[in-house]
């Protein structure tokens, strides 16, 4: 983990209805190779991005959210999900897509469900906030 800037990518929209989250993921993956302290946050409809079981065969669009798992292969600090956003949407914490890191055994899920108050602290401790 570099001593670079703390950069947080905030996702607040669901998948497929718009391209914002897909293109934001492309930025995050590029950012991950810059040796900065990168995190992602999923808030509001952004929590739908980590909903499992997505199949775009019928929609004939790219199922890009599978690529969130690739974040585990990079030096990503954390993936935060706001608990209040999940609750409002009837989403269960235990049903979120996992993003696993740690190639040599001892794997760890990067996804961390946090309260609004905890997320507030995360947001206010960043150097750069990117969102769309």
């Amino acid at each position: 983990m570099g001593d670079g800037k703390k950069i947080l990518f905030i996702n607040r929209r669901g998948p497929y209805g718009t391209i914002y989250a897909q293109e934001a993921l492309e930025v995050a993956l590029v950012g991950a190779v810059f040796d900065q302290k990168i995190s992602l946050a999923f808030i509001d409809d952004g929590v739908f991005l980590l909903r499992p079981g997505q199949s775009t065969v019928g929609l004939q669009m790219k199922q890009f959210t599978a690529a969130y798992r690739a974040l585990g292969d990079f030096e990503i600090h954390r993936v935060y999900v706001e608990r209040e956003s999940l609750q409002v949407r009837g989403m269960k914490e235990e049903n979120l897509m996992e993003i696993v890191t740690g190639p040599d055994g001892g794997t760890r899920n990067l996804v961390k469900v946090v309260s609004s108050v905890e997320l507030m602290d995360v947001i206010h401790s960043q150097d750069v906030l990117l969102n769309d």
């Binding site: 209805g17 019928g58 929609l59």
Partner: protein, 100 residues
């Protein structure tokens, strides 16, 4: 009359406006991000249940599947249709209003 809505009810007010201005007996079709309104257990379920007493509510199947929502996740009474069913709904009703 057919009313289509394409916005998540957690993000935008479109579906609330549809439910305020669609006449009882109308068909309401949820497409794109609006399919999240049909998710059981959300804070929007009471509004949707109330709407189901007044409207026939449909959701676009491809949009459900893409968003990881299967039939077991739906509020009961909501019916899934494919694009062909969307066309049929547009044929069946004299006019179509898109609440964007």
């Amino acid at each position: 009359m057919l009313h289509t809505v394409n916005k998540s009810p957690f993000e935008k007010d479109s579906l609330n406006t549809c439910f305020r201005l669609a006449r009882p007996g109308s068909d309401v079709l949820l497409i794109e991000d609006a399919v999240y309104a049909a998710l059981a257990g959300s804070c929007f379920e009471p509004a949707m249940s109330e709407a189901l007493a007044r409207y026939s509510v449909f959701v676009l199947k491809a949009d459900l599947e893409a968003r990881g929502i299967d039939s077991g996740d739906l509020i009961s009474g909501v019916r899934a249709v494919d694009y062909s069913g969307f066309v049929d709904l547009a044929v069946k009703n004299d006019t179509v209003q898109s609440w964007l």
